[in-house]
């Protein structure tokens, strides 16, 4: 007898990648989560892809939704179960919320007879909570550990059971479920108090898999249904940074400080308060690179395209001719972006072979929408850019010198801080290169000036 367990890839985008293959046949998996966190979607996707891609019949026993509701909701997020149900690849059983301990016998009858009938290789019980509520914890342990676990092995099927977790509760199950299953996956809606809460999946346990990390973001919706967002750190990281190749900052004085410009494939943060010149600097950088034949994507999260083109004209550039040379300007409204759309957009963008520089102006607005998820987005963006050898330049309001925002600096290879200085009753704009990985740079304040219609960098008089 082989002592190797049969693999059971879930087919859920991203999940099999981050877990190194998904589940194993015969495992009992517990999926716990807050209301609305996506337990049904996760389980449904497991069944859907099993039937559709792997030809494995699936059985869903639901104590919550009617068949009609299930079909409707799932179709709404990109999973059309109709053809699979018609082909008898998927069977959906409604199990009315039980009011007595006889419920266990009813569950048993439905699960065993239907699973055998369709030769189910994947089974979902969504949710087990009403049944567990009728039994004391020790009996729950017995039901899970022995009954469902034995069944999963006897039927050679992988079973997912879902369990409700009230908001605010850190406990996964009634008491002991997490200790007696092969896998425990927790789904949470994080940051309900911010404009765009995001979803986090925590893989607390998965027997047979060594997980590099346990927390991942996920999204629910078309076209995937359920998708675990790719986390860069799980990929084989081969950075395409080219130290010998430089991307101009658009300001000769700044290029000089940075020993020839920004190293190709690195991530640069331009920080500074409003009015300090971030957008001007970024536009000049974009224009100068386009003029040198680089393909540049300029994304603003704050200003519409037309306004940016006007600013380019103010700097003395011909927006139309820059467009022809390879500068593409785009405005994205952060309020309309979901985490999923951001990652999809990044994938598409970084997938463009010719692109060499991506500039994103106003990244701080993402923080307002995504709270602490903001840093994760930045890190993934930066990491993925490095993998593709694309230079990334971002502008933010927060100063990395500010204690509350110092964590942002971990994302960047280069940090250029803009600011203000008062001298002789006049305020001048300052520029300081705070950090430049793979370089030893001169970190003294310079003056950011507008000279002959273009931005430039000068030394302060007291320094000369």
């Amino acid at each position: 007898m082989s002592n190797v367990l049969e693999e059971c890839p879930t087919g859920i985008p991203g999940f099999d990648t981050v877990t190194g293959g998904g589940f194993f046949r015969g495992q009992l998996i517990l999926v716990a989560g807050n209301p609305g966190s996506g337990k049904t979607s996760f389980s449904a996707k497991f069944i859907y892809e099993g039937a559709r891609r792997f030809g494995e019949p699936g059985l869903i026993i639901s104590t919550g939704e009617s068949f009609k509701e299930f079909l409707f909701y799932m179709k709404g997020i990109g999973m059309d179960f109709h053809p699979l149900v018609d082909k008898e690849m998927v069977r959906y059983i409604e199990l009315p919320v039980p009011t007595s301990r006889e419920a266990l016998m009813t569950l048993s009858e439905k699960l065993v007879s239907e699973a055998i009938k369709i030769k189910a290789r994947r089974i979902v019980i969504d949710s087990l909570t009403p049944l567990l509520a009728l039994n004391p914890p020790a009996e729950v342990r017995a039901i899970l550990r022995n009954a469902l676990k034995t069944l999963s092995q006897t039927l050679n099927a992988t079973i997912i059971v879902t369990i409700e977790m009230p908001y605010g509760s850190e406990r996964v199950g009634v008491d002991v479920e997490e200790f007696v299953t092969d896998g425990v996956i927790k789904l949470c809606l994080v940051g309900r108090e911010i404009a765009t809460p995001y979803r986090v999946m925590e893989i607390l346990k998965l027997r047979g898999r060594s997980l590099a990390r346990t927390k991942y973001q996920y999204e629910i919706g078309k076209p995937y249904g359920f998708k675990v967002l790719p986390h860069s750190f799980t990929q084989k990281a081969v950075s395409k940074i080219e130290r010998s190749k430089r991307i101009t900052t658009g300001l000769s004085g700044l290029d000089e400080i940075m020993k020839g410009g920004i190293i190709k494939g690195t991530t640069t943060l331009i920080s500074g308060p409003p009015g300090s010149g971030k957008t001007l600097l970024l536009l000049q950088m974009a224009a100068e690179n386009a003029l040198r034949g680089e393909k540049v994507q300029f994304i603003s999260l704050e200003e519409p395209k037309q306004q940016l083109e006007e600013t380019l004209r103010f700097l003395g550039y011909d927006a139309k001719s820059l467009d022809e040379k390879g500068l593409e300007i785009m405005f994205l409204n952060p309020r309309e972006l979901t985490t999923s759309s951001i990652y999809n957009f990044i994938d598409v963008l970084l997938g463009k072979e010719s692109i060499s520089l991506i500039i994103i102006d106003g990244v701080t607005s993402l923080r307002r929408e995504y709270g602490e998820g903001f840093l994760r987005i930045l890190k993934d963006l930066s990491f993925n850019s490095k993998l593709r050898g694309v230079t990334l330049v971002l502008s933010i309001l927060e100063s990395p010198l500010n204690g509350n925002s110092s964590y942002i600096s971990t994302v960047a290879d280069n940090i250029i801080e803009l600011g203000f200085r008062e001298e002789n009753n006049r305020v001048s704009r300052t520029l300081l290169v705070l950090k430049s990985r793979m370089n030893w740079i001169d970190s003294t304040y310079r003056k950011l000036v507008l000279k002959d219609g273009r931005l430039g960098v000068e030394r302060y008089a007291d320094e000369c």
């Binding site: 009813t106 048993s108 009858e109 065993v112 020790a138 009954a147 034995t150 006897t154």
Partner: protein, 118 residues
């Protein structure tokens, strides 16, 4: 079924086994379970829990499997009607399922239980 239980008890007793009818057993989890029969071989201390059912079918699978976890003892199920798939699952999980055929003598059933405890 109670007639069966009593006759089987008598037969097993006559064969030297210790037998309790309607016996209450405390499981690992601390719950008390009541069974039709509990048979013990006094020399080997091997025990069997005997459950009588009219019909054994898929409804019984999960409760029986759960029960087995709480009571690590040989379980014997005697039933007049046995669903084939259910029997297969329970056999694989270590249950002994005995179908009571029409006209089958209780003495024979008792002997089959006795065999399990030798």
């Amino acid at each position: 079924m109670q007639m069966n239980a009593r006759k089987i008890r008598d037969k097993l007793s006559s064969l030297g086994f210790e037998v309790d009818v309607n016996a209450v057993v405390r499981g690992i989890a601390g719950f008390n379970y009541k069974f039709d029969l509990i048979v013990e071989n006094p020399s080997t201390r091997k025990k069997a829990i005997v459950i009588f059912l009219d019909k054994l079918d898929s409804r019984h699978v999960i409760p029986l499997l759960a029960l087995r976890y709480d009571l690590d003892t040989q379980h014997v199920i005697l039933a007049k009607q046995v669903e084939a798939d259910t029997e297969l699952i329970l056999n694989e999980a270590g249950f002994k399922v005995i179908k009571i055929s029409c006209g089958q003598e209780d003495e024979n059933l008792a002997k089959r239980i006795a065999c399990l405890l030798r």
